[in-house]
């Protein structure tokens, strides 16, 4: 309803602005894509609209849908959890920059364990999702969790049933740390899962994990936090077990070499650095370098610059993590240089 309301409201606002002969005309910016970024983007959009009168109409149809829509030029910007390769961007005449950071966390439902207590490593997660580690008291899990009494029950694996940027980041990480995963399953927004049940969306996975005893799943960090799900620590490239939180996501972002990545084509999984959380994810914005509607495009860019500079408090309140200032500077330089 909210989304539909904004159209007439926007038209009224536009008419009022024109009629009043004010110097400023409200713009209607449209975007589509990633569901992960939707909560923060709609919060930013509401605040920004109060301040400037510009409306951002964002449809959270999924990352793949966002890429398809921007390629069809039906929206002013697309948002995706999966970056496009520079060649693909060049072919479509698109530019791409990161907007905000999040993470994918393993969530579990196991009686006798506390939230945040269980420790996982990349290879163990890969083996669980490959169906090789089938019991909670598997020696590999016991070794990672000294002092935790793990039951001899079957691990019920839960994954996404729909294509998803969350899945992309999760399996991208598994492909980095497990040769078997890379060879047998690979990476993508949807993969052929060797085992487990599929839930639709973060909410589907969390509903399954909450309901199926002895289960494990993976969801967005903000989603796990808001739904009070038990999530575990993951061993990073430096060998330390890291609790997913804003600090460990930012550590991963700070260690990523954004300057060297053309069009910010970089996935932050398995980042270096002692404090980096290994399944840190990014949302990317895609826009035309030479947009059909330069006025809309300029308004959209103004909104993103505002969000990158002033949107931190809102991001933090919704458990998203803003980029460190050095990366924000790089993004602003890129925008100025690439998008006309």
């Amino acid at each position: 309803m909210k989304k539909k309301m904004s159209w007439p409201l926007a038209i009224v606002a536009t008419v009022a602005a024109l009629g009043g002969a004010t110097a400023y005309a409200a713009e209607n910016i449209t975007g589509a894509g990633s569901t992960f970024v939707f909560p923060i983007l709609s919060k930013w959009a509401a605040d920004y609209s109060n301040q400037t009168g510009d409306h951002i109409n964002y449809q959270s149809i999924g990352s793949g849908g966002g890429i398809a829509q921007i390629k069809a030029a039906t929206v002013d910007f697309g948002a995706s959890d999966k970056p496009l390769a520079p060649e693909e961007l060049a072919q479509a005449g698109l530019a791409q920059f990161p907007l905000v950071i999040g993470g994918v966390v393993p969530v579990y439902n196991l009686t006798g364990t506390r939230p945040g207590q269980l420790r996982f490593s990349g290879p163990v997660l890969a083996d669980i999702y490959l169906g090789r580690i089938t019991k909670w008291n598997d020696p590999n899990l016991v070794r990672l969790n000294p002092g935790v009494r793990l039951p001899a029950t079957t691990i019920n694996v839960v994954h996404r049933s729909d294509g998803s940027g969350t899945t992309f980041n999760f399996v991208h990480y598994l492909s980095q740390v497990s040769g078997d995963w890379r060879g047998k399953v690979g990476e993508g927004t949807a993969v052929q899962w060797p085992t487990g049940v599929g839930g639709k969306g973060n909410e589907g996975v969390s509903a399954y994990v909450k309901q199926i005893p002895n289960s494990i799943g993976y969801v967005e960090y903000a989603y796990a936090l808001q739904n009070k799900m038990a999530f575990g620590q993951v061993q990073n490239a430096a060998g330390r077990f890291i609790m997913p939180n804003a600090r460990s996501f930012q550590a991963a972002a700070a260690h990523a070499n954004w300057g060297a990545a053309k069009d910010f084509y970089l996935v932050m999984t398995n980042a270096a650095g002692p404090d980096s959380y290994p399944i840190t994810a990014t949302v990317f914005i895609m826009m035309y370098k030479h947009p059909k509607n330069p006025v809309h495009s300029a308004a959209a860019l103004k909104f993103f610059r505002w969000a990158l500079a002033k949107g931190q408090p809102q991001a933090a309140s919704l458990d998203y993590v803003p980029f460190p200032p050095t990366v924000v500077n790089q993004i602003n330089r890129y925008i100025a240089a690439e998008i006309k």
Binding site: V185, G186, A190, W193, Y208
Partner: protein
Amino acid sequence: MSTGDRAFRWLTAVAAWAVLITLLAAALSMAWGGRLAFRTFGWKFITSPNWDAVGHNFGAAIPIYGTLVSSALAMLVAIPTSLGIAIFLSEVAPRWLRGPVGMAIELLAAIPSIIYGMWGLFVFAPFMANHVEPWLNDKLGPLPGIGPLFSGPPIGIGMLTAGIVLGIMTIPFISSVMRDVFQAVPPALRESAFALGATPWEVTRKVTLPYTSSAVLGAIFLGLGRALGETMAVTFVLGNAHDFSGSLLMPGNSIAAAIANEFTEADSPIYLSSLIALGFLLFVVTFIVLAIAKFMLMRIERSFG
């Protein structure tokens, strides 16, 4: 013929043809949309259990199997229950009860399928996981023959739960049509049977059911068609796993659920085409199932003379 008659003929003919043309157009456009998948995989698209979006290797065997098995389970639940409801309402129930119960059934038919899905996931699946499936595991799991159907971890989500939820969903459709046709049996027929000393059971078995057999089967087809194409309720409780499993307790996938889950994020032409081809196969599967049912109907009608 007067102008009015001609207009009437035309209007009704157009309405009837519009259905046929829409159906044909939908089938053709899906066959066209799925041509890339059919050309790439050929007959293997129907027989292959693969569904690999990374390796661009797709096959429809698991969704087809899931669609058929979940619908069959649904009919196993829905047909006896619906028959019972309809017979009770038309033969057994006191007159004052018929109105309210009949109304309640019609209201059940108006509940959106997503509500059934959420009820299935949040209420029914835990019940299955905690009470029904452990019992099935213990009692039926070790039996030879049917044992493998009831083995596997009792997670509450899978083919059996989906089939039962589907069955509950289709009960109102089947039972309300059955009740209507039972009540349409000419009173003279039933009353003469009663006058000869027949019990309500004998009247039902020997008069009502034979008289209405084709309409009863029609009601079952209506429910079956709904079960085959049902999407949201199934996707919540089926588990959406492209795995083949002989056990009814294990997750599976259905054609409609796969399309609903994956369509928005199908990011390559062959993936999209495979999903559209799945839609075409749902058409074909539904057509074959209904054709078989129609054939059975003809045989039954012949045997009743």
